[in-house]
Symmetry: C2
Subunit: 108 residues, 2 copies
Amino acid sequence: MKVSKYLDTRPVPELPGVIKREVINADDGAPRFCMRVFDVEPGSSTPSHAHWWEHEVFVLSGRGVVISGEKETPIEKDSVIFVPPDEHHCFKNNGDEVLRFICVIPLQ
Amino acid sequence: MKVSKYLDTRPVPELPGVIKREVINADDGAPRFCMRVFDVEPGSSTPSHAHWWEHEVFVLSGRGVVISGEKETPIEKDSVIFVPPDEHHCFKNNGDEVLRFICVIPLQ
């Protein structure tokens, strides 16, 4: 069993204004899926893309929108977002504090 | 894509003092894993057991301990816990407010 605080995990810059912490991954012995925590600065966004793997997301703090095609849906603390495989998506911080969310993805 | 607030999901009593919300599951089209949110009342615990599937846990609020065999490890808001497959575990609320955590498990 691994017990930690998420801030103990080394932050990795994903792109300007976005950092990622892989709080549980294969190095911990996780066999199937990986838990990450993202911090998105105000005005910044995650990449706008699609891929074969799904996202299961829980918003810890902040405000923003999740964008899929032409549709923007507001998100905030306690929002839950399921992005199915191959659906285009982008998470944008349009608030004035950090948008922080958990994002779980499959490992293979 | 599904966007909701976790409190919109119907709570299901797991056992006395413990409720579960399946915020993302197979009914949403999730192919591989399922996100649940648990509320454990002060003095209550999740079952003490082991099983073939892993847990990836993030504590949203409250205080407690995670118990594995003779070992008790304190947990609180922002704690991350990885329980590997087949490891005995139990989450106990020893604080004075609800212990709330996300727990992700494989679907198969």
